[in-house]
Symmetry: D2
């Protein structure tokens, strides 16, 4: 207290190890990268709906968190599982990550399964990914997690599929390299979203009339956009 940042304490609570200042800086960037996508996120929306009926703060946050599932924000754990599978196979079968990437793309394709963390509805390239990977490399944290997802990206490209590494994929790769267990990977997205949920709840309860119809494409949120920092 007074000596460690909150991000360091988060890592300590989750792993039992106090992170170096380099890792701490990366954790800050990772949490900041997911902080808010704007008013149309389902979690923001559910939190506002609950708030609008008069919920106390914790219950409205709860409604928001219950809307963070596999189609919104819960892709990090799944992405980590795929990367860890690839790394394990490379080790077991004495192959390179590139060779395994080619095999996995074929296998997932045959089963018509998506690989989490690749592809994005809006951006062709997510600028947050480049930023996080460059920081992870500069700080000496990037390892097989980042290499594995870059191998998948490269070999998808080679077969004509341009699937950018989205921010969930970037977080998944770095969390693998930080040795965070995949089961709790989504916690980073959830933690990053709480401040935004709180801002939405406060705005709803302090400025709007109760029980209004909240249109998802017409929310009045005019607070700051932390991404523009």
């Amino acid at each position: 207290m007074g000596h460690v940042t909150f991000s360091q304490a988060v890592y300590l609570a989750l792993t039992g190890v106090l992170p170096s200042p380099e890792v701490a800086k990366l954790l800050d960037a990772m949490l900041v990268s997911s902080i808010d996508h704007g008013p149309t996120a389902p979690s923001a929306y559910a939190a506002r709906t609950s708030a609008s009926t008069g919920a106390p703060l914790n219950a409205a946050i709860g409604a928001g968190i219950l809307s963070i599932n596999r189609f919104h924000g819960a892709a990090i754990s799944d992405g980590m599982m795929v990367l860890l599978e690839g790394i394990q196979r490379a080790q077991d079968e004495k192959k390179t990550l590139d060779e395994i990437a080619v095999e996995m793309i074929a296998e997932y394709g045959a089963q018509k399964k998506r690989i989490g963390g690749l592809g994005h509805r809006i951006h062709s390239d997510d600028p947050r990914t480049a930023k996080l990977f460059s920081l992870a490399k500069e700080l000496g944290v990037a390892g097989q997690g980042v290499q594995m997802i870059e191998a998948l990206h490269k070999h998808f490209h080679a077969i004509g599929k341009d699937l950018p590494i989205n921010v969930d994929g970037a977080l998944a790769a770095i969390l693998v390299d930080l040795e965070i267990p995949p089961e709790i990977g989504n916690a980073f997205f959830i933690m990053a979203r709480i401040p935004g949920l709180v801002a939405h709840i406060f705005e709803e309860q302090s400025r709007e009339r109760p029980m209004r119809h909240i249109h998802p494409t017409d929310v009045t949120y005019d607070g700051p956009d932390p991404r523009s920092v």
Copy 2:
């Protein structure tokens, strides 16, 4: 099991007493009266939002229930408190319920406080109230709870305020007469809403694409309307 209805078992769980067939019939009518208001209820909306992100059934129901607060569905307990206060004062001060109603209307008016259970945004008279009160009287259940809210209604009318007894008020009055503790009055609304929440969640997950924008005034719910039975 096989001998009691679910409504009877609800009453037994809450009070320790197996209700008579008359009370059971009234409980069924009370639960059915609150079953669903259509797609624009915030609880339905929050449950659909959570469901749309891929939540399991229990979590999506949870998000719905977290949107049942004092501006939506949680007025029953508050209404019961007011009625119990009036009944208690009549007894303590040896006055009639009518006399107490006149006093309370003046006091609440002076403090600019609303009396829960009276007034309605849409209906001038809620047909469910008349139905429930007529059933409660016919079955011999109506007592001081129903008399107290009718006294409040009558004396508001006498000063030119036409505040119909809404369905929350009707439920509050009858629950007072059934000796349900006011702290758990809202449970009846919550229980009544679960089947509707489940229908919304199922429809969202089986018919709609994930993560769509759910507009509160344009929801596709086309299921049955239990009120028309």
Copy 3:
């Protein structure tokens, strides 16, 4: 309202069809069968913990429902999926349910997967299963769902494994015969548990001091046991 029971309205909300009095009677028995297992159920425990910190009723119910997952109360949907798979295979492959049961037992065994709805930690036979099946047969509702689970039970017995049909299995079989979609099968357990959760929450908040340690094997619940009716 006044003409239908709550159980009938539940079925109507979920299926769009008003059930016959026979089906209504069976639904009542099904809901009553799951109403409460006593104080040591995790859902009761989580609801009490939340209540003990001062949660409003809906939030404490929410905490309880969030503790109804695959190891507690959410086995009904999984059980329904297995039974529907068996029935579909019998139809597609023009085999009897008995033949399919033998095949499925072998397959699930080879994959070391449990079949939901069979086996019980406490009871060797669950008396509720016998009761529900006898009622379902008497009322003419029992069909391929009940036949399929009885075939599985019989053929497990034939290979020396005595796995009683537990109450989740009984509910799964009857819900299949009632044509409830398997995705919402768990809703019946959830709905059945709400009255018990409310009783636990009320007892915690009206009788116990806040923030006490709640020992799961030493809870003071002394309310009625609806199963003894």
Copy 4:
């Protein structure tokens, strides 16, 4: 991203203002101060109970957050309201904070109401309070919020009541000085608790058998204690 810490981004999301490095350092200390009290906290307990039944991560976190209410962790907002009332009265009535403290202690005493943030069940003095106040003064952040609670503490002492300023009171005072709206004061406690909840959930799901009885005074948590840093 890469330039701001998570604590700074939290403050920016809640207030629209990027905090100075001094305020950022204080925010880190505040969040770290509440990170975890050990396994017997009700929120940890509810999260473990939900996790033990097989809940996904977000739902188990939700159950934990639903157990953060007025008797556990939600005293910060209430404390802020009292301090803001005192500061406002001093300004309106042109009195000193000391004079107002004496009046408020008498008034709250007459109404038998507690003042949030003062008094502690375990510690006679909470070392975290001294640390946070010394940091707030050193960084030039401490203002009327800290002065008001210290005035209350001093004048309670003068009438023979030794009520230490607990960590909720310390956070309330500093949040007043940081101009955080009191309605969202509890968010700091909630955010601080998420990493600990995640650690509990992971430990429960990775090491314990499902559906075990979780005794609140006998939890196996042996992870790191962030307070000892």
